[in-house]
Each structure stands twice: as structure tokens, then as C-alpha cells.
Symmetry: C2
Subunit: 119 residues, 2 copies
């Protein structure tokens, strides 16, 4: 894990949540897990933009924060399944709202990004 050198300003709840959901793929991971895509190889296929390396790192962080639980079946070949914990469940409303907001403002955002890349 990377050791932070700048202490986090965590007075406010926003920063807390940012700390948990901050990774690039974490929201998607949580979303996927809720939908039943809960094994590492499935997640890799479901989120093709990310390397398994990064997904593993982010999954581990989510696990550290107690947002997801990892169940390892002692088999060969190994089988691993993630699931949302109770705490993780409480994040769902936020994720759903974020998803909805993003969809509703898709046109706006894509336009801005397109403009930006022109310069």
C-alpha cells in the first residue's frame, strides 16, 4: 500500500466518503458486486478498462474499510466471492444517486469534455 505523506483533512464527512469511494473503479466495483458480479475474474471481464492489478488493489481497500467482504472457498481452482457488508449496503443510495445524476447530465458533461479537448 502507498503511504500517504500529506495528512488527510477529515474534519468533514465529505472527505471521509471520498476516502472510501475515491478510487477510480471503486464505485463500479461496488455496483457490479451488488448485481451479482462478485468473483474476481467476472469483475475483470465486467470492467475491461481496468487491469486486474488495479481492481485487486481497490477491492482490498474496499475490504479494509469494511465495505465489502471477501469469501475464499478452499478449493482448487480457488474460488473467491465478494459481497457487500451491511455498511456497504448503506453506500448504495449514494451510488445510485450518483449514477442517476450522471446519466441525466450525460449530454452536458460530454459536451464540456469535448470542448475541453479542443483546446
Amino acid at each position: 500500500m502507498y503511504e500517504k505523506k500529506i495528512p488527510l483533512p477529515l474534519e468533514c464527512g465529505l472527505m471521509m466518503t471520498r476516502e472510501v469511494l475515491g478510487g477510480k473503479w471503486k464505485p463500479n466495483l461496488l455496483f457490479a458486486i451488488v448485481e451479482g458480479i462478485n468473483r474476481p475474474s467476472q469483475l475483470q471481464r465486467a470492467i475491461p478498462g481496468a487491469t486486474k492489478r488495479v481492481l485487486n488493489l481497490q477491492l482490498r481497500e474496499l475490504e479494509e474499510f469494511g465495505v465489502i467482504a471477501k469469501k475464499i472457498y478452499p478449493q482448487l481452482p480457488p474460488r473467491v466471492e465478494y459481497s457487500l457488508t451491511e455498511v456497504g449496503q448503506t453506500l448504495l443510495p449514494i451510488l445510485l444517486q450518483m449514477n442517476t445524476w450522471g446519466e441525466q447530465n450525460r449530454t452536458l458533461i460530454e459536451t464540456v469534455i469535448a470542448e475541453r479537448s479542443k483546446r
Copy 2:
């Protein structure tokens, strides 16, 4: 502005919202603006962890996405006021939920961060 080299995967709404709210201080800026702390110098005082440089950069991005509006009063010394646009208002529920969630899970998160820094 920084020019991204890796294209953003924006299929899903989550990524869109991430793009808008992604900056380290953006949620705090929006929160502060809603509370009436809407002039650059006030914001700098309200968010002491960030340089005015960074705040300016992030404010500009928020403005680009049409989330806040910048009003410049043609005076000397100059006076600038930010306000949420209608689109920006629609982000408030998300921010409030994030804030609430963070507060409710403060103990958990602080514990995890403390553990992490021990290693």
C-alpha cells in the same frame, strides 16, 4: 488545464459524476458556496488546507461543467461571487448524503486509516 492522455471510460453515470465531483476540494467548495461562503477569499479561509491556486483551478472546472456560476462585479478592489446553478442544485442531495454517510461512519474510517498508517 491538464490534458488527459487516457480517454475516460464514461459509459456509466458513475464515471460522469466522478468527473464533475472528482477534485479533492470540489465537494467542500460546493458545500461552502451553498452556505453562503461564496467569495474566493472567503473560500480560501474556509478551506485552509488548500492553496488558493488549487481552489481557483477547481472552481474553474466546476464552472466549466456549469455547476457553479461566477459573477464578477466590475469594482476596485474586484469582487467575485460564486453561486450554484440549477444543475449545481441537483448535486446537493448527493453531497448531503455523502456528508451524512461520512459522519455516520467516522469512527470506522478513522480506525482503518489509523491501522493503515501503523504498517
